[in-house]
Structures are given as structure tokens and as C-alpha cells.
């Protein structure tokens, strides 16, 4: 039962990341709105202790600041895009809150250890991605804007974290 729940959670995370990725093809602002919603949802799904949520909330605030800059730099926000993003975000947050209230033990020492390890590994994957993109850009093979660069890192972190976490949960012991 709990394993099914966990599988659902992982699928939703991957689906959300893909949704963000696809939405970036339509509208960058929509993509950022979705990404922020996802980050807030992750922070809600974290453990009760505030300090565990702090990095995610901080990251969300930082990305929100970037979005404000992006929105101000262009010819106004796309209202339908932001509305869809907000709606998806609200659904994700509502789902996360429902799961927390349902009384199922969502996290224990094993899942916390796995989560932390997945975060560490995803940081390394993202670091690798940054290095690759940097050298692609520097060598002139591919020219990237700051937004494309940031977006690529954001998706890499989200997707790699979800996949590594899934693998470690299946493996049993993170060590």
C-alpha cells in the first residue's frame, strides 16, 4: 500500500518535471510558474521540521525573484499561461497536503536517508550538467541564454533527484 503510494508520488514528480519541460516549449513564463509550484509542493511534502523545508522555500523564493525579473523584462505576462500554471500548482499542493493529513507514515529514517542521498547525487549530476553546458557554450558549439541554462539545470535537478530516489527506494538501503 505504502509502496504503491510512494510509486504514485515518484510518478507524479516525474510527470510534473516532464510537464514543466514541455510547457517551456510553449511559454517560458508558464514553465517557470509550474516549476515554482513544484518546488513549493516538494517543500510541503518534506518533514515537519521547518529547517528541512528552509532550503526549498529559499530556492522557491530565489526562483520567484528570477521570474519577476523575466516577467518585467518582457511585454507583460501571459495571463492564460500563468492561470494554468497556478491551477496546476494549486492541485499539486492540495494533493501534497491531503497526503500529509491522511495519517500514512510518509517518511521514516530510511526514506529520510534516501532522500538526502538522492539530493546529494542529483547535485553532482547537476554539477556535471553545468560543466557540460558551460563548455558547449564556451567552445561556441551551442549558444545558451541565462534562462535556457537555468531551466536546464532546474529540470536536471528535479528529474535526476526523482529517478535516483526511486532507485534507492527500490534498493532498500541507501548505504
Amino acid at each position: 500500500m505504502a509502496q504503491k503510494e510512494n510509486g504514485k508520488q515518484q510518478l507524479i514528480a516525474v510527470a510534473a518535471a516532464i510537464l514543466v519541460l514541455l510547457s517551456s516549449l510553449i511559454d517560458a513564463r508558464l514553465s517557470f510558474a509550474l516549476a515554482i509550484a513544484g518546488l513549493f509542493a516538494i517543500s510541503f511534502m518534506m518533514k515537519d521540521k521547518l529547517w528541512r523545508q528552509a532550503p526549498f522555500i529559499l530556492a522557491s523564493i530565489m526562483i520567484a525573484a528570477v521570474v519577476v525579473v523575466v516577467l518585467n523584462s518582457q511585454d507583460g505576462p501571459s495571463l492564460p499561461g500563468l492561470a494554468i500554471g497556478g491551477l496546476v500548482g494549486a492541485i499539486i499542493i492540495a494533493f501534497a497536503l491531503y497526503r500529509r493529513k491522511s495519517g500514512v507514515v510518509l517518511n521514516d529514517e530510511r526514506t529520510i536517508a534516501i532522500h538526502n542521498r538522492a539530493m546529494a547525487y542529483s547535485w553532482w549530476v547537476s554539477y556535471l550538467m553545468i560543466a557540460i553546458l558551460f563548455w558547449f557554450d564556451y567552445s561556441g558549439y551551442m549558444k545558451l541564454t541565462a534562462i535556457q541554462f537555468g531551466g536546464a539545470i532546474l529540470f536536471t535537478m528535479l528529474i535526476s533527484q526523482a529517478l535516483i530516489k526511486r532507485y534507492l527506494l527500490f534498493k532498500g538501503d541507501p548505504e
Binding site: A2, N6, V105, D108, E109, R110, K171, G172, D173
Partner: protein, 62 residues
């Protein structure tokens, strides 16, 4: 790591779900413990042993 969790759980007619609830962990953590695929913390090992009315030494062996 070898455990006698399954055996002791059967003795007390306890399901994995019930044991998980009693010690405050997810059911799959109990599954991995039973299979010896997860090394618990001392606290969790103590809680599991307590729930199974046994000593840690009787439940876990290396």
C-alpha cells in the same frame, strides 16, 4: 544481517502494517528489515525489538 522479525511477528500474529504503525515507519521499511536489506539505526532496532517483546540481540544478528 539476519533478523527474526518475520518469525517473531508471526508468533504474535502481527502484520507488517501493524508492526510498521507500532514503530512509526513505512511498511516497506519493515519489508527490507525482514529481508536483511536495510541496517536500522539503534533506535529503530530497539523499537522493533520492543514491539516484538524481545531483546535486540534476539531479533538482529550479524
Amino acid at each position: 544481517m539476519k533478523t527474526r522479525i518475520k518469525e517473531l511477528r508471526a508468533r504474535y500474529g502481527m502484520t507488517q502494517e501493524e508492526l510498521a504503525k507500532k514503530v512509526g515507519v513505512r511498511r516497506e521499511t519493515i519489508v527490507f528489515l525482514e529481508q536483511g536489506r536495510y541496517n536500522p539505526s539503534l533506535r529503530l532496532a530497539h523499537d522493533v525489538a520492543l514491539a516484538l517483546k524481545s531483546k535486540i540481540d534476539d531479533v538482529f544478528s550479524f
